[in-house]
């Protein structure tokens, strides 16, 4: 039993027993050797004291308490029959929810174990992207064992972890997890620098990045870095840095494999989930680190669609005219209506790019975790927002000489103008899902590109 668990057990005793010299001595012994327990203890005593102050400050008298309790008792008896029916319904719903993810609590009685994260539900979201069911909280020591589910968890310090399929993950602290098996993908913001993924073979320490870790049945660990940099350290303390685009393997004997190219496709679904796309169907690749040049002749996507995030928590500095996310099916001859997003709107911008060296039709469906606010579909809209919403480290077509620019750069070519391009946009009634049908023809022997910006609501 850890110090924290022992402390919890002692603090859970009835007051009289808890205040006995033996128990107080045991508590103090734990506190003097364990700083984490000390912190938990301080929170506990302040919690107890706060509760006492809140509750006894307006106590009118014991008789009033008793009178109320008796009244409540009678009222509850009357509600019993009605309640039984409701409970049966709730249980049916809860059973379905709880079986979504199997959580084995290694220390189930440890109420004092600090909360270190929570689930980000990928399903059962309302139209605003808020969960329709309670969000499960995660504590130190929780071990998550999943079979085929899509799971995203948010650690309290800022790191986000996503996976789908067979995974066995133990949560050790807000900054440390132990991956016993399976593939996970991690996105770490600057404030959670130093986040660690441990495995039977070694430890991966983050330096502000997006990376994937895969642990096989024999404990062999593969680390693929999609963005930023990590350090991989074996159990024998041998370590090496891995930068974006790189991958290394580490076996349980601590032997490091050669440097390889990162295989993003191993983590394609978790990568999308980490970046606010809860569901995807079709040929799409998410780029944590997009290609530098986004114009013709690059054939960077060829027979798939590329997507990346340009901005997160972006505050519109001035009103912006966008195509509305109204439910329906649209094409060049029937575009959504134009609306104006007010200045101050907080959004996330996704850039979608498709090009091909030969004529091709592509289809993809997305569901975002937040409501879609609008679309930038026309060439003029895209050109006008490249320098504001676009990423400063990328070259959009407008940055290239005319001969290197595509003949058409847009989605649906010229929405509302009536010229058919074959592109179609379907927006689903939930306000978070859409389907894109992209047609990439050759125009006068010159390849076309389809590009659009999707603005999705983001939290402040």
């Amino acid at each position: 039993m850890t110090d924290l668990e022992s402390l919890h057990r002692l603090l859970s005793l009835e007051r009289e027993e808890r205040e006995s010299p033996e128990v107080v001595a045991s508590i103090r012994e734990i506190l003097s050797r364990d700083n984490e327990a000390c912190r938990a203890y301080v929170r506990w005593t302040y919690f107890e004291a706060s509760l006492s102050w809140h509750l006894t400050g307006d106590l009118d008298g014991h008789q009033e308490v008793l009178r109320h309790l008796k009244t409540e008792r009678r009222r509850q008896q009357r509600l019993l029959v009605w309640g039984l029916t409701s409970i049966a319904t709730v249980l049916t719903i809860m059973t379905g929810y709880l079986t979504t993810v199997v959580i084995r609590k290694s220390v189930p009685e440890l109420q004092i174990a600090p909360m270190i994260g929570w689930y980000l539900p990928q399903e059962n979201l309302d139209q605003h992207g808020r969960p329709t069911q309670p969000v499960a909280l995660l504590r130190t020591g929780d071990r998550l064992q999943t079979r085929g589910e899509h799971v995203v968890i948010q650690m309290s310090q800022g790191a986000t972890i996503a996976w789908s399929g067979l995974v066995d993950l133990e949560l050790r602290s807000p900054q440390e997890v132990f991956l016993h098996g399976g593939n996970i993908c991690v996105k770490v913001p600057a404030r959670a620098l130093g986040f660690r993924v441990m495995s039977p073979a070694g430890t991966t320490t983050d330096f502000g990045t997006q990376f994937g870790v895969s642990v096989g049945y024999d404990g062999t660990t593969e680390v693929h870095v999609m963005q930023g940099k990590v350090e991989l350290k074996s159990m024998t303390q041998e370590s090496c840095p891995i930068i974006a685009g790189g991958a290394r393997t580490l076996d349980v004997q601590g032997k490091l494999g050669p440097q390889r190219v990162a295989n993003e496709s191993l983590f394609s679904e978790p990568l999308l989930m980490l970046n606010g796309v809860t569901h995807v169907r079709g040929d799409v690749r998410f780029w944590p680190q997009p290609p530098r040049n986004l114009t013709v002749y690059t054939a960077i996507t060829d027979k798939s669609i590329g997507m990346f995030i340009e901005q997160e928590k972006y505050v519109l500095p001035e009103p912006l005219s966008v195509y509305a996310p109204q439910a329906g099916s649209f094409h060049s001859g029937a575009s959504p209506k134009l609306i104006e997003l007010p200045a101050g709107t907080i959004c996330r911008s996704y850039f979608v790019h498709a090009d091909s060296s030969e004529p091709v039709n592509l289809h993809v469906e997305f569901t975002f975790d937040r409501p879609i606010l609008g679309f930038l579909l026309s060439e003029s809209q895209l050109n006008a927002t490249d320098r504001t919403i676009g990423r400063s480290d990328l070259n959009y077509p407008i940055h290239f000489p005319v001969e290197q620019q595509p003949q058409y750069r847009a989605f649906m070519v010229s929405p509302g103008a009536g010229s058919g391009s074959g592109d179609r946009l379907a927006i689903l009634p939930d306000g978070r899902s859409l389907r894109l049908d992209l047609a990439l023809p050759m125009n006068n022997g010159r390849p076309d590109v389809d590009q659009l910006r999707i603005l999705v609501a983001d939290e402040s």
Binding site: E19, S32, R39, T45, F47, H68, G117, L137
Partner: protein, 185 residues
Amino acid sequence: MATDDHHVDNTTLRADGQREFVRLWTAASRRVHSYILTLVLNWTDAEDLLQDVGVTAWEKFGEFDARKDFVAWACGIARNKVLTFNQQSVRRLVISSELVEQLTDAVRLESAALEQQHEALQDCLSRLNEMDRQLLRLRYTPDLSVKVVSAETGRSVDAIYKSLQRIYARLNECVSRKLLLKGTP
């Protein structure tokens, strides 16, 4: 005449000081009480010591530098009281001065989080139904035992304890959730 003026000035100053002390003490006493409880881990002792600290703080209020934090100043008095209390009491366990410093440091480091916890708790309590809130009060009402409530309401002692545990766990969960949303781990 001069004596009367001096008397009036002193009285006025004293009345102003008293008002100021009451204002500061009212705002600080909960935190001082929590700090004392952290050190002594005994409700009765903590309440006795809080009264003692209040009296000393009032007596020494003239020495208090208004530019400084009153809570920190009062906690300093409380710390000394606890150490003296340790020496005087033969039947109680003595808390080492190292542990007092360790806990004081922990309180200082956690002070922002502890205040957020207090606010979150207030909000979470307001979300409890009246029945649960009243039951929870039992834990903090010294003269009202669970047995008395059991006899009066017709509910078993065990049922009342279980209800209390359930409410407490829910409250704890609610506070933790709120702290996480505020970015406090």
